[in-house]
């Protein structure tokens, strides 16, 4: 806050007696007057000082008052300058043009102390309001920068949890992720549960923001601990379908046991026999996985849907699963709804059909190249750098990896 005792006020006035009188009055009122003789000198002084209040005469040689006003506004667009114009004219048109030029107030000549005090009090009040606002803005900017930094580092932690491209037995995994500017509830993983079975999943907690991200992290952590559980079930000689049903039911129970957060999640969870290609996928309300069984065909959806996790109680028997044996060279794709709901500038979603066709058209490229190409395609589709929602695609190729895998005659 600026104290009146030290508030400097610029006086631009060519007539020496009037200028001296004004300076004396300002001094008496507790301001610090700085005197200049014309508009040009005033401009120069304003360039090099932090003055916020200007009292300017109307007619001056070199540069007159209205021109000074206009020039100050043009040269210092963001700066708070309160301009009071001295006027002997009672002409309303002249007042209007001074206001248009950027004057804030007027003082009539001859100058009365009472009027000058009143005008300066207004100027002082405006200046105080302005500096309070500037301080508040600065605080807000700092808080905003702090929160943005926190969110960015949370997003980084979330990404660091994701698996690296890897080969698990005869299965090769790779993925692309185009993050939105917001932290979100998407995550995925794939890992071996014993020397033969691999688990894979993608999940999406409803909504966006920190709460969704924290719940996604909870699910991720919970699923990280499933290998022992899965291995134990497998050791009993149970088939992979039983394991899948048990894991999904367990996650649902876990989510429902938490206090109702208003969130739920969709998920594809699967167990793969990395030797035989036998695969069981559970569909929990997530967009269906796409299977590309042969080169140059269209990747086809597996399953039609299923109950989401964390909405209602269900039994292992209610879990909807797809059982299949992956042919050698086939590719499986899991993806977030940020892919299919990715909108073009005209508002058309990318859609599952287009995705399936595109993946088929890219079948002769290596898995890595196909994903990179798909990422470019999605970027071209939405026409902007940052997607609305995380764009995630996880690809798995079963059998001999590489571009030749699909070249079976």
């Amino acid at each position: 806050m600026t104290s009146p005792a030290i508030t400097p006020v610029l006086i631009a006035e060519d007539d020496a007696p009037t200028r001296k009188l004004l300076a004396a009055l300002l001094h008496k009122l507790g301001f610090s007057p700085i005197e200049v003789r014309d508009g040009l000198e005033a401009l120069e002084t304003m360039e090099t000082s932090g003055i916020h209040i200007v009292i300017s005469d109307w007619d001056m040689p070199g540069m007159d008052g209205p021109t000074l006003c206009q020039t100050l506004r043009e040269r210092h667009p963001g700066r708070f300058i309160y301009i009071v114009m001295l006027t002997g004219r009672e002409d309303a048109g002249a007042h209007m043009s001074a206001l248009d030029a950027g004057a804030d107030d007027f003082i009539r000549k001859p100058i009365s102390t009472a009027e000058l005090r009143a005008r300066l009090r207004t100027a002082q009040r405006m200046l105080t309001l302005h500096s309070d606002l500037a301080i508040r803005n600065q605080k807000l900017n700092m808080a905003h920068a702090f929160l943005s930094k926190e969110l960015a580092s949370a997003q980084k932690v979330q990404f660091d949890l994701l698996p690296k491209p890897a080969s698990l037995g005869a299965a090769t995994f790779d993925w692309i992720l185009d993050p939105s500017c917001y932290i979100g509830g998407d995550t995925f993983d794939y890992f071996m549960v014993n020397d033969r079975l691999a688990a894979l999943y993608i999940l999406d907690v409803s909504g966006h923001g920190v709460a969704a991200a924290m719940l996604a992290f909870t699910a991720h952590t919970r699923l990280m601990y499933t290998p022992q559980q899965i291995a134990a079930v497998a050791e009993k000689g149970e088939g992979i379908e039983i394991i899948v049903r048990e894991v999904v039911t367990g996650i649902n129970r876990h989510f429902l046991s938490m206090k109702d957060t208003g969130h739920y999640m969709t998920m594809i969870f699967g167990i793969l026999d990395t030797e035989t290609g036998q695969l069981c996928l559970a569909q929990s309300g997530h967009p269906p996985p796409l299977l590309l069984a042969d080169a140059d065909t269209i990747a086809q959806p597996l399953g039609t849907g299923g109950l989401a996790i964390g909405m209602f109680e269900f039994d292992p028997g209610d879990v909807e699963v797809s059982n299949l044996t992956l042919p050698h060279g086939s590719r499986l794709f899991l993806y977030s709804d940020g892919v299919t709901e990715c909108e073009s500038p005209a508002g058309d979603p990318y859609g599952q059909d287009r995705l399936g066709a595109r993946l088929g058209a890219l079948s002769r490229l290596s898995l890595h190249e196909a994903l990179a190409s798909l990422k470019d395609d999605l970027l071209a589709w939405r026409g902007s750098d940052l997607p609305e929602d995380d764009v995630t695609v996880i690809a798995m190729e079963f059998g001999t990896p590489g571009p030749c895998a699909l070249d079976r005659a």
């Binding site: 409803s206 909504g207 208003g262 739920y264 309300g285 269906p288 039609t304 849907g305 909405m311």
Partner: protein, 112 residues
């Protein structure tokens, strides 16, 4: 949340006047159910024919509304089309909510 509410035979027909129910409107949508239940509405026919898009937050709010009703009342839906219908099918909401083809059938369903 823009809605139009009318009464037929003690059944409240709630017509949603929004094109999208997404993250931006989900909390309003959830609050709408709370208000309806507090105001004593027990049998609700929800008209979604104007809704072209619903995301996971919107669906979460709808399920929240259903849970709030609990045993106290009945909720049935009609006018479910396009992307909303796809979302309901994908998440099996067609097995959770009574979803009917038109208003008359919905009212019949809630009368019984």
């Amino acid at each position: 949340m823009h809605t139009e509410i009318s009464q037929v035979d003690g059944i409240s027909i709630v017509r949603i006047q929004e094109k999208r129910i997404d993250a931006a409107r989900a909390s309003d949508f959830r609050a709408m159910f709370q208000e309806l239940i507090q105001a004593g509405h027990r049998r609700i026919a929800l008209d979604l024919s104007k809704v072209e898009f619903m995301d996971s937050s919107g669906l979460g709010a709808l399920v929240g509304g259903l849970k709030l009703m609990g045993d106290k009342g009945d909720l049935a839906l009609f006018g479910v089309t396009g992307l909303v219908e796809s979302l309901f099918r994908l998440t099996r909401m067609d097995k959770i909510f009574p979803i009917l083809g038109n208003e008359a059938d919905t009212l019949d369903r809630l009368r019984t």
